[in-house]
Symmetry: C2
Subunit: 236 residues, 2 copies
DNA sequence: TAGTTTTATATTGTATTCAATTTGTATTTT
DNA sequence: AAAATACAAATTGAATACAATATAAAACTA
């Protein structure tokens, strides 16, 4: 009866976490204690503890007497994100290059394999989760309690932004993702070589690529229909 | 009955927070649910929720089936701290200078007044809490959800480090604190002027001052007793 | 009919009870 | 006497029951 109960709680935790990261639960969505309690056959007491934890990590927002909701994303979010991400991520990768242990490097390579296969045959959610896992490991490598909280908070919205600004059909975006995968490989190399400067530079490149992806989404190539062409279907 | 209950919870929260920041609860100390539940006449359920929240913010560490304890501080802590602090705090102050609203600037001035009077007539704990409050406000000003988690985590150990490495009797340390207060004034000025560069520079200066304080503590001026002097108490 | 007040329902917060895990102590065994 | 086991006490985790708050719906007033 011990593993069952423990796993019920961590199952709920993992379920909520991945649902939020993959936008299966949208930003701002309300969570219902009663129904979740039912679905996971878990009483409300431990359920609320999971809520508190997720709130502490930035997944949820708790409002007094008014239930939990998924952390929101507004426009200012994007700006704040790209303001903070290069700095924090640069620091994390630099520290990762300085401190990574061999077993962690192996874990990172394994995560990159999963990411690569998600690129080939996985869903958007698979890709987002695999990418998230990759970066989580770099956070473990950096091993700095003061930087990790912000880094983890960034990773949440990194996943959500990636899910939001992506059209699988788009050729340019596919190329963009492939480039991201290449950067992952370079990150692994820099970490294994202990090359801090290279790692920090790759961090900047990686976030710039994310920014480019958003641009591809926001400013699509215009439709190829000349002005006024609808009126004179058969040209004179 | 509503405010009473709500305040009981936030009372507990504030009590634990300040106890931890002022080292009234030492790093690594175990917390007893039962006795706290008694002291605050609050049942264990809401008490444990407070624990979870404090754990999420970095004050406590929760261990499965083994109770909560105050977040530990090891020697690697100091290194990690001074590695992360200048960067994060620099960013926070820069953003504070860019975004601060007038009412927030007023709040900051008020906090600085409290700090100043704590320097004159307050206990070490008073001083630490007032300094903490000052910096918390700069975090509010910066208003970036991605940086705040790390910043708040830094503030916890900023307070604890300050409490640890300080001898009130020491002249040099008193001068050091007075300098810190002067820097606070400069920070206020930079924020009100919207001078981002100056704010960022002040952040670096401020943390360097903290580092100097630790040096004063760790490397005290040697005792003024010549070798062998104890033997010949009355000089020839 | 629009707006306000009242009442009912649903949801959240807390207390209590019960179950499971850990830890310390005593007993047994070698 | 040292180690191992078994037992007992204490502590933590989860479920149920109860209380308070918020939301909605209905009734009422102007």
């Amino acid at each position: 009866m011990k593993d069952a109960a423990r796993s019920k709680k961590s199952e709920l935790y993992e379920h909520l976490k991945s649902s939020i990261l993959t936008l299966s639960l949208s930003p701002g969505a309300d969570l219902d204690e009663a129904s979740l309690s039912n679905d996971f056959s878990l009483s409300r007491t431990p359920l609320r503890e999971v809520f508190r934890q997720l709130a502490g990590e930035g997944f949820l927002e708790l409002r007094e007497n008014r239930g939990a909701r998924v952390s929101g994303m507004s426009y200012t979010t994007l700006r704040d994100f790209f303001l903070a991400a290069p700095m924090v991520y640069g620091a994390i990768l630099q520290l990762a290059a300085a401190n990574a242990r061999p077993d962690q490097a192996e874990a990172l390579k394994a995560a990159q394999e999963v990411f690569r296969s998600a690129l080939r045959s996985g869903s958007g959610a698979d890709r987002a989760m695999a990418n998230n896992r990759f970066h989580e490991i770099t956070g473990d490598m950096a091993d700095n309690v003061y930087l990790l909280p912000s880094f983890k908070r960034l990773l949440i919205d990194h996943a959500r932004i990636g899910m939001t600004f992506y059209r699988p059909q788009d050729q340019a975006m596919a190329a963009n993702l492939s480039e991201a995968s290449t950067q992952h490989d370079a990150i692994i190399a820099a970490i294994e070589a202990g090359d801090e400067a290279a790692a920090a530079q790759l961090a900047t490149d990686h976030w710039n690529l994310s920014r480019d992806q958003i641009e591809l989404f926001v400013t699509p190539t215009g439709l190829d229909v000349p002005l006024g062409s609808m009126a004179r279907k058969t040209p004179a």
